[in-house]
Symmetry: C2
Subunit: 311 residues, 2 copies
Amino acid sequence: MEWIKKMLDGDKRACAKLITAAENNPEEAEKIIREIHTHTGNAHVIGITGPPGAGKSTLTDKVVKHLVDEGKRVGIIAVDPTSPYSGGSILGDRIRMQDLALNPNVFIRSMGTRGYLGGLSKYTKNALKILDAAGYDYIIIETVGVGQSEVDIVKIADTILMVMVPGLGDDIQSIKAGIMEIGDIFVINKSDLFGADRTATEVNMMLDLTMNMERRPPVVKVVASKNEGIENLIQEIKSHIEYLKESGELDKRRKNNMKLEVVELIETELRKIVISHTDKENKLDSRVMEILNKEKNIYEVRDEFLKSIKN
Amino acid sequence: MEWIKKMLDGDKRACAKLITAAENNPEEAEKIIREIHTHTGNAHVIGITGPPGAGKSTLTDKVVKHLVDEGKRVGIIAVDPTSPYSGGSILGDRIRMQDLALNPNVFIRSMGTRGYLGGLSKYTKNALKILDAAGYDYIIIETVGVGQSEVDIVKIADTILMVMVPGLGDDIQSIKAGIMEIGDIFVINKSDLFGADRTATEVNMMLDLTMNMERRPPVVKVVASKNEGIENLIQEIKSHIEYLKESGELDKRRKNNMKLEVVELIETELRKIVISHTDKENKLDSRVMEILNKEKNIYEVRDEFLKSIKN
């Protein structure tokens, strides 16, 4: 495809085109991913998550600017579960990061969850692969860490930043253990506010209480709006990357993620087979009537379908 | 099985035993459901849902007492997503409805969601079928209507009561359309509180705005704690049952629910096949390494697995 060639040459518009094509059509997505496969696996993926109001967008801006100043190319996928926009232009290009979006070394894509019911992570993964193939050094996935699906998305990342703010108080306690456990670096943003030290202490205590950690995540205080602490944060990100590579953890994570992806793809195909079998000649309708009329039980009907699928 | 015979004779202990057996072991569940199948389909299932603090438990108590006074047998499945208890004794028997639990015509089961990750509705459906076969005239499923999974559970019901309280104000507006749409009867509990009329008016307005309703759900004001309005509510439940039967809606709902259940069962079996195929001789591990080493792309690997599954 011509667009793929352009994208591999670093054309931002081609990138956007391909991401949209992959979103709109699963077959197109498959074609694209098949073709770009050998170009993937080079970008380092940073997930940024945390409660609404934690200042994740501002933090993302500052981190990206810092990386760009180092001469890196950065792709951003902003997942906003409350946004009705998808397809990426409005939120990404207008409201936030207006100057960044104009930078030739930065690519921004917003994804609203509306219209992606239950399947956003698939689209995020495809967009990630396209940006990876396009040669972005870092790809940042920013999500609001509220639901399980946002947590799932952020789990694709190599390095996960968990952003918190002073004054959450009880909320920190109520953050589910599962969410605490996925953080590789804890960032206390707005740390010029009253209570920042207490929040940092609380997070540190929670981390100390968590057993079975191979690596104790650092807690970093920043004031993103004033660009304070960002350099330190970047250092922590880099030492996490070092750790991931040296410990073999990077390979392990990517292998695990790939396993899940393969199983998901197989299940998607099998689901299609189930649907085509049960829809055929209203088979499901007539079988269900047999269950309701007590001629057959539900497991007998299931077994009949399974038999016909295997033939 | 001896327990099934006892359960069919109305033995409460046998009921509890079978529900626990079905929870603990999917094969046991299949065996039980296969055997009791012809005895199911007779109970009328009432779902009671609404936000925390709406007084659903008290309302359930009063509704159950009323039905028992009419000479009916009533089963209750209380789904509490925040409760660590499952297996049904503690919440159900001790804290709530102590006198009801002793009534020979009432069966109470509590299910906490911990330990059921993502699959509570399966267990609820099995418990429902066992109670149905045991001859309970009404089965009440009480859930806290917060997450999608609780909504899914309550959708199993024939008649769904949506419980609200005065003073929710903005919250009512924010109740998702999808949740409003599943209510068959809207109950304003604690309607002796200030603002009850306004809440009723708001709910009525929302219902009037909802298009494409074959039947306009009634809005019923009650004060469950004082037993006020319960008789009226029971009347509304009964006229809904009448409506369901006469309009053919009952058959339609049960048919749709059964379809979903069959498809879910088929998918569960196929998932087992995927797992057994991919786990065999660490096949998934070696294939994933081929992807990460860029020898194959993910779709090639998927297709290989699909081929081996079909053979």
